[in-house]
């Protein structure tokens, strides 16, 4: 079982690093689409959405561990806790 937890933690770190890379990619593509000289509003709309989603993703990614700490704090104020946070 401990191996499983380690595996999941390793997977989580990989996902987090991929997410950082994807944020940069999506942000760049978004600005690319937004600034492209294509005369379709749809394209610019898509570009704008990509930028917003990428910024939100970066935000949630950055404060991920803080969010889990906040949940832990809320839970401890409801009752006693037994688990330490192990978010990467």
């Amino acid at each position: 079982m401990a191996d499983l937890v380690e595996f999941i933690s390793m997977l989580t770190m990989r996902v987090a690093s991929i997410a950082w890379g994807l944020f940069l990619l999506a942000w760049s593509i978004g600005w690319l689409l937004r600034g492209s000289p294509v005369p379709f509003m749809r394209v610019k709309r898509v570009g704008q959405d990509l930028i917003e989603d990428a910024i939100w993703a970066a935000f949630w990614l950055a404060i991920g561990s803080s969010v889990f700490a906040l949940v832990s704090y809320i839970a401890s104020s409801i009752g006693p806790t037994t688990i330490n946070t192990t978010a990467p």
Partner: protein, 454 residues
């Protein structure tokens, strides 16, 4: 058990974190597909909710136990109740057979067909009792493990195990809180149903009393325990094994019985002196204590009228019973032993005033009884016995079960009672299952489907 809970919770937390970051990754995907991106906030919320469940695990356990204590009932009561129903249920089958013979002897052969459904009720009753016993044992001992595993399933990403996890959590909580109320529910329903007879006779199911007899030291191996009905005087005799334990079956409910222990031709005083049986508890366990009596070996009985403390020790194949008493105290000693089991070696520290020795026969064993009155010389009186290997096993006549007049009314009320019990148990279980589904939905298990139609 604790390690399963801890491992399940650690894994659940890791999965919750993974689910959150997968959600972030999906949000960061540079694809403009709304269908995929809409999963992102769900994944993140699921992760945070699962992490919350992990953190408040012990609070959930405390809440469940608090609710159970608040609502009342205990698993020990429930198990005793189910065991007594199980023991009595055979009486139901016997009464069905009896009504079958009554019908056929009255020449109404075709009417025996009506017994078919009643027998299938008996099958249902036994399977329900077995199921409830198993559920009660599971709920009582495994609630933490089930709730932890439920949280683990709940925290799987993409809501794979959400329905299963929340059902498992709900099941553990509802069974732990709800099952101990089953006896109260059954009593309420049985009390409100009037049997179709003019006299409301309670079902006279046989009562079983299990227990052990012990003295200040040891137990009377091979004794006879008698339950004497104080009203009718009928005695039921049962053999006691070499540990002093007995199982008395076939006693009647709502009767007052005096408890008597007969050992080596003596009737010994007992605590409790008498016992009252009631129809509610047809399976009872009691501890019988014979005061001031020591059983140092099988087939030996030593009575010491006043001792501050009694100690029994074995030394060089001689057993010494040491009674600590103030010097100069008047003390009565009675030693009874089967000649095959022991012989009296010596009595020390005792000034004998009167001594009577007699031989009696008890169930084929020669018993030597020595009665003495005297004074203690020192602060320790010792009775030394030389033991021999033996086994006391009195042969009893098969006990006469008191024959009650079996009237048709009584049989019908028995059948009615058991039908009511079956209905009450099945209705209560169905109620608990529906509450489980409701709690599972509330915990977030959408589209919960059970394989049984409820």
């Amino acid at each position: 058990m604790v390690s399963i809970v801890n491992e399940a919770l650690y894994t659940a937390l890791a999965l919750a974190v993974l689910s959150y970051y997968i959600g972030v990754l999906v949000l960061a995907l540079p694809v403009p597909l709304r269908g995929i991106k809409k999963w992102a906030p769900y994944l993140m919320q699921d992760g945070l909710l699962a992490a919350l469940f992990v953190f408040i695990f012990s609070t959930i356990i405390d809440l469940v136990e608090y609710l159970r204590n608040l609502i009342g009932g205990s698993f020990d009561e429930l198990l005793d109740y189910l065991k007594s129903l199980y023991a009595n249920a055979f009486g139901y089958i016997l009464s069905l057979k009896l009504i079958g013979t009554l019908i056929s002897s009255a020449g109404l052969q075709p009417l025996t067909g009506i017994l078919g459904p009643l027998f299938s009720v008996a099958t249902l009753l036994f399977s329900l009792l077995g199921l409830t016993l198993i559920l009660a044992s599971i709920a009582a001992s495994l609630k933490e493990v089930m709730i932890a595993l439920g949280i683990l399933l709940y925290s799987l990403p993409f809501r794979i195990g959400r329905a299963a996890g929340s059902t498992l959590i709900a099941f553990a909580m509802v069974m732990y809180i709800g099952l101990p109320l089953l006896p109260a529910w059954s009593t309420m329903i049985a009390g409100s149903i009037m049997p179709p007879s003019s006299t409301a006779i309670p079902p006279p199911g046989p009562v079983t009393i299990e227990g052990c007899i012990h003295g200040d030291y040891g137990a009377p191996g091979g004794a006879i325990v008698k339950f004497r009905d104080t009203v009718s005087g009928i005695e039921h005799e049962y053999a006691v094994d070499h540990n002093g334990c007995f199982i008395a079956t076939g006693l009647s409910a709502n009767h007052h019985y005096a408890v008597v222990v007969e050992y080596l031709s003596h009737e010994l005083p007992t605590v409790p002196y008498s016992i009252e049986t009631s129809e509610a508890w047809s399976y009872m366990t009691i501890e019988v204590y014979t005061p001031s009596i020591v059983y140092p070996h099988e087939g030996v009985l030593v009575y010491l009228s006043s001792c501050n403390n009694t100690v029994v020790e074995e030394h060089d194949s001689v057993i010494n019973v040491l009674c600590s008493v103030k010097p100069g105290t008047e003390l009565g000693i009675m030693v009874a032993y089967a000649d095959a089991c022991a012989s009296l070696q010596d009595i020390g520290g005792y000034d004998i005033r009167e001594k009577h020795v007699r031989d009696v026969e008890w169930f084929g064993y020669n018993i030597t009884v020595i009665d003495m009155i005297g004074y203690s010389v020192k602060d320790n009186v010792s009775v030394s016995i030389k033991p021999r290997e033996c086994r006391i096993q009195p042969s009893l006549q098969p006990s006469d079960v008191a024959d009650e007049d079996v009237v048709l009314d009584v049989i019908v009320s028995i059948i009615w009672y058991w039908l009511t019990i079956t209905v009450s148990i099945s209705s209560y279980l169905a109620l608990l299952v529906m509450i489980t589904i409701g709690v599972a939905r509330a915990l977030g298990g959408y589209y919960v489907r059970l394989p049984i139609p409820v």
